[in-house]
Symmetry: C2
Subunit: 407 residues, 2 copies
């Protein structure tokens, strides 16, 4: 029993470097089925549905779709709007009018919840309709999934950035703090550890939202590393919290911006890094202390895309069309790790994914709560893909000193 | 008349992504000459000379040198020390003791000045000695030079970063401010313009240290772009100054750090971006305003190295050895553009380069002082090298609206 009608695809939330691969995978696969009358793309996510801003992707060339696939950040543009019941009623009016029978929404756990609400409204309206959530998030925080498309490329960018940061800090010694994206889950901050090659390489300390951040312990940690290596490279998640679960950022300012989902603005500001930097300068009296906030480049950098991530992002889009159109089922695509390294795709009920957050498991974080474990390395290394660059050091012998005593 | 003795190479100032190519070029070329008894590398620049911390690079393998060549940030480590007369006397004691007859110092205009002082001291001491300054700086601010090794790769990183930033800002509209390195010269900030492909692409506004920054004009510029495109991407140099030449940063805080050369700390802090962001929020009432400070990653990113820059950095190192050892002359290597695109190398007197700063020429900056010209594009495009990534957009037709009137 084939369900005939249109496919509608949209992209929600923050962009990733490979989110368009999922779009292209879903479009190209959907276009193969004779019962699909058109493949539409909604401009600006659910906003585009309400406003009937649909691009007819049945009339896009395959070559250009492939080119868009290797371009970061939502090609259909995005939205931060999270639909409520009233919003969903409007969505259905439009879906019905256009005979949309398949809805694929590429996004994180907020977007999965949108798909769930849309799908429940479809059931209540007795409108035959398939809805699939296609996972994407650089935060890697979707439950059940081994990992999520978008994470591997962001992780590769962060790891490559910390290779350079560590080399720079080794050349001109001091303390360096790099603030990494990650509101609740520390996976992206943890990826900084993939930069390490030699035993004294940074990042030497890694602070994650999964462990309470204690200012005194932090200063002791930094002092310990600095006394050992004469320098210290630190990776800090933007979402670090104190022991009461209060974001460290909130102790900084009263002027805190929140988005439509009620989340605090953590990115797009250098405040957290500057505060930690000032803390080290004033309490430890180190003079050369620098902080950078790695910023939006983490999620959209065109020059550090993981091939593994790119292929998986393509496949989850393709699988969405296959599950919905071949199998006539709803759900959220889930990545399962089946080997070292291989992946398979499953469909889970939307309610199992929607609105839930996965955190770093305990075995990925060291006992002191200031670094990651080898288990994390084994988990994350395949995700950043092939051809990961390697730094090298000089290793020639030192010449004999003539005017000083040799140490 | 061959001058027999040791070669000593050092690296000074801030690292670049290709500074080790210059080291490797100088080492491999120097090792070919029979009158060169050893090739030493000083650890931590002039500090390593004073302390006789010399690595015997005659005993480094060619393979490992090639690997180090493709690794960013000074492999011999660096220093911010600028030697005075007393420091130079100590340097000579060591140079003489080790029979160093050739000194190659890889650095910017401060390092060129160090080479000049060292060389003049050698002349006063009647010690036969050749000194060559090998240019490097991401700021691209050495006089006479068409451009400097290190700039092309930093420019490529900035351009690639702004490709993603623009795509991100297009997907989730708002105002974005990216603060780019460049204390006095705007070349690196200007490189953000290389990210533009489509007419409405950002960066829409570019502010450089070469033009006075006026807060009211800035707000008018931002308003104009925002009203036209519904968004605005801005590239700002960290070194922007008001009409009296006072850094905009200095109006922010009294707690300003200076380095050994008396320079204000501009990098390693998010303050400037945050201030401009707050200004736009408060004066223009735009809600989604974000700022990032691109940070140290600009000068050391391993994943965005320009092949053109890498080859030129290698060649300036090789030419240093050739000029000094074949021709027995002192000076600073200068890059001259001889075609579109080709380069040749010359030797200029150290005093012509030392301590001087090149600025963006007028023909590279638009009349309004808030963007760059096509002349800049023609100048800079070859420097970022081959294989520069290109973003792509969907271009399928829009579907007919059924419930709304089509615009």
């Amino acid at each position: 029993m084939e369900l005939k009608g249109k496919v509608l695809i949209a992209q929600g939330g923050g962009p990733t470097a490979v989110i368009n691969q999922s779009l292209v995978g879903a479009v190209l696969e959907s276009r193969k089925f004779p019962q699909i009358t058109k493949v539409y793309g909604a401009i600006n996510g659910v906003e585009g549905i309400i406003n009937e801003r649909f691009m007819d992707l049945t009339r896009e060339t395959t070559h250009n779709l492939e080119q868009v696939g290797i371009t970061p950040a939502s090609a259909l543009l995005s939205t931060r709007i999270k639909p409520d019941e009233a919003y969903c009623k409007e969505i259905f009016k439009v879906l019905k009018a256009h005979d949309v029978r398949y809805f694929f929404y590429i996004g994180g756990n907020d977007s999965a919840d949108t798909v769930r609400i849309v799908n429940e409204n479809a059931k209540q309206s007795e409108y035959e309709f398939r809805a699939i959530h296609i996972p994407k998030t650089i935060d890697n925080d979707l439950v059940i999934n081994d990992h999520t498309p978008g994470y591997g490329s962001a992780a590769r960018y962060v790891a490559e950035a910390f290779i350079g940061i560590n080399l720079d800090n080794r050349a001109l010694q001091g303390v360096y703090i790099g603030v990494v994206m990650g509101r609740h889950a520390g996976f992206l901050t943890a990826a900084s550890s993939l930069a390490k090659k030699y035993p004294d390489d940074g990042p030497h300390l890694i602070y994650l939202p999964e462990r309470p951040f204690d200012v005194d312990e932090f200063l002791l940690d930094v002092k310990g590393v600095y006394e050992k290596f004469g320098r210290c490279v630190i990776a800090v998640s933007e979402g670090i919290k104190d022991k009461n679960g209060k974001p460290i950022m909130l102790s900084l300012t009263d002027d805190i911006e929140t988005d439509a989902h009620g989340n605090v603005q953590l990115s797009g500001s250098g405040q957290l890094g500057d505060m930690l930097s000032d803390l080290i300068k004033s309490k430890l009296n180190y003079t050369r202390v620098r902080s950078d906030t790695l910023g939006y480049t983490q999620r959209n950098f065109i020059g550090a895309i993981s091939d593994v991530d790119s292929h998986e992002a393509r496949e989850v889009g393709e699988k969405a069309a296959q599950f919905a159109i071949w199998d006539n089922v709803d759900g959220s695509i889930v990545l399962e790790r089946t080997g070292d390294y291989s992946i398979n795709y499953h469909l889970y009920p939307l309610k199992d994914i929607a609105g839930k957050t996965k955190y770093m498991p305990d075995e990925f974080i060291n006992l002191a709560g200031n670094n990651v474990t080898d288990d994390f390395y084994k988990y994350a290394r395949p995700l950043i893909g092939s051809g990961f660059p390697q730094p090298h050091r000089l290793r020639a012998p030192m010449a004999k000193r003539l005017l000083h005593d040799d140490e």
